[in-house]
């Protein structure tokens, strides 16, 4: 992994000063080409995605962001494409002739919807919080150290805040050097703190968080419709073909693609429908998968805890989560780093006096 240095930016740059224009060519890979180009053009301005400290990969000059581990996104895409391809080739002609001609249009519409929302879920910034600047980190350290002055006990790494009459603990993130806002969690696979962290989805190859949750939800709901639709069409097709005493085996021999579709859809429809149902419940109660799994608001401790973020109304919760305002990306991937001779590559390891006793502190980085 490239040693991504956290660059410091010059304060003497005026707000109105515009950065130098970018080079004309686009870069696909940030490491090798950039090293070669830097030797030829030492003054080429770099974009912020090139020095991004998390484990992400960027394409199209920073427009597209994915997790470093691609997960099984190619498999997901492949399954969807193969199933739909077989559907259009094997089932549609028969069903158009014997049933109605809307079937390919419905199927096509659902397919387009599914693929678009899948790609948007995978390629959108989920709500990554940029890491604290060294000044901020030093300030926070100063504040923490003043509270715990006995040398034996390490200073507290949690902060409590009251939200809607509920006490919420904010944990300190050692990697990002800041106290995580409420509902934020650090994903160890992507090495980023993500706002309103839901889960890291390997099928999609990205974290699901505040900014792409609505894409993810639309994806799984439309995928359940698509899977159920194809399953229904294939069943209808095979039963129509098997009519007249010909039998199912004969029907399968005539249309082998349908057999493949049947298997794929049969095994996936239950899990996808289940997942959609689960996320519908989460949306209606304004919970995240992370909170639900950990039981943050289920009152297991015997105290009266309720979800402080819920609007106490299913309709409003749904609207807030799915139709709420779309926050912008905070990491500014395509912004330019100011070209500076005296760039100080301050690595993010500020000396923490209690780093050695970190193991004593019951704080886990990964939630």
């Amino acid at each position: 992994m490239k040693n991504c240095e956290y660059q410091q930016i010059d304060p003497q740059a005026l707000p109105t000063q515009t950065p130098p224009p970018p080079p004309l060519q686009e870069e696909k890979e940030e490491e090798e080409e950039e090293g070669g180009e830097k030797r030829e053009e030492p003054r080429r301005p770099r974009r912020k995605w090139e020095v991004f400290p998390g484990k992400n990969r960027f394409y199209c000059d920073g427009r597209i962001i994915v997790a470093r581990q691609g997960g099984v996104l190619p498999l997901t895409l492949g399954l969807i494409l193969v199933t739909c391809g077989l559907f259009f080739v094997f089932d549609c002609p028969f069903l158009v002739k014997h049933l109605t001609s809307c079937i390919p249009f419905i199927g096509g519409g659902l397919f387009v919807f599914v693929v678009i929302t899948l790609l948007q879920t995978s390629f959108t910034d989920p709500g990554i919080l940029p890491r604290a600047t060294p000044d901020e980190a030093a300030e926070i350290e100063k504040q923490i150290d003043t509270t715990g002055n006995s040398s034996y006990r390490p200073p507290p790494r949690t902060k409590e805040v009251v939200i809607n009459q509920q006490v919420v603990k904010l944990k300190y993130c050692f990697t990002c050097k800041m106290f995580r806002p409420p509902r934020t969690s650090h994903c160890s696979l992507c090495d980023n703190c993500v706002e309103r962290f839901d889960h890291h989805c390997p099928w999609v190859g990205n974290c699901v968080g505040k900014r792409n949750y609505r894409f993810f939800y639309t994806f799984i709901v439309s995928l359940s419709f698509l899977t159920a639709f194809i399953f229904g069409c294939v069943t209808t097709h095979l039963s129509l073909r098997a009519q007249g005493g010909k039998g199912l085996v004969f029907a399968l021999q005539e249309s082998p693609g349908s057999a493949v579709e049947l298997v794929i859809c049969f095994f996936s429809v239950w899990s996808i429908l289940g997942l959609s149902g689960f996320h519908t419940y989460l949306v209606a109660s304004n919970l995240t998968t992370n909170e639900d799994i950990k039981g943050s608001w289920s009152g297991k401790g015997g105290e009266d805890v309720t979800n402080p973020y819920s609007h106490k109304n299913i309709f409003i919760n749904c609207c807030a989560v799915l139709c709420g305002p779309m926050p912008p990306s905070l990491i500014d991937r395509r912004g330019f780093l100011p070209s500076d001779e005296s760039v100080q590559t301050a690595s993010v390891d500020i000396e923490l006096p209690t780093q050695a006793t970190k193991s004593e502190i019951n704080v886990t980085e990964e939630d």
Binding site: T133, P134, P181, C323, M326
Partner: protein
């Protein structure tokens, strides 16, 4: 005397960075973006309390407007869902429009109020909406030996 500047240009040429003060987020109302109105003690003799409080209050109201869940945001959300969210690629969302307004407001505040007092506000969006950073400057000519080894961006418009 050492901290009298007339505009941002003078600040850039004659000043050296002394320290930074951070106004943290106020999470008492949930995850909405809101900054604490507590006045930092380092700014006691640099700026009047009311001016800073007014700035923070105005910023908070802008963020409330950006994150408001109401008729317009529902319309935007439903339209976006119906078009498989492709309109997000073409259209500027309301949040982005409000952020632009905030950016110009901070620029104006810097020019009128903060730079003449040797201070500079950094747009919170440059710091991941975590803090409102206020940089304290001092006149270089006053022979201040404060270390300026750590530097950071000063409120560049997004």
């Amino acid at each position: 005397m050492a901290t009298e500047f007339h505009n941002l240009q003078e600040l850039r040429h004659n000043a050296s960075l002394v320290t930074k003060v951070f106004i943290q987020r106020d999470y008492s109302e949930g995850t909405v973006c809101r900054f604490q109105s507590k006045f930092p003690s380092e700014l006691d003799n640099r700026i009047e309390r009311t001016l800073l409080e007014e700035t923070v209050k105005t910023l908070n109201s802008y963020y409330v407007e950006a994150e408001k869940i109401g008729g317009q945001s529902y319309l935007e959300g439903c339209l976006a869902c119906a078009t498989a969210y492709i309109i997000f690629l073409c259209m500027e969302t309301r949040y982005e429009k409000v952020l632009k307004k905030i950016s110009s407001y901070i620029q104006e505040q810097n020019e009128k109020i903060y730079a003449p007092r040797g201070l500079l506000l950094t747009d919170p969006v440059e710091r991941g909406m975590r803090v409102l950073e206020i940089s304290l400057f001092e006149d270089r000519g006053s022979g201040s030996s404060s270390p300026s080894s750590t530097m950071s961006s000063a409120g560049s418009a997004r």
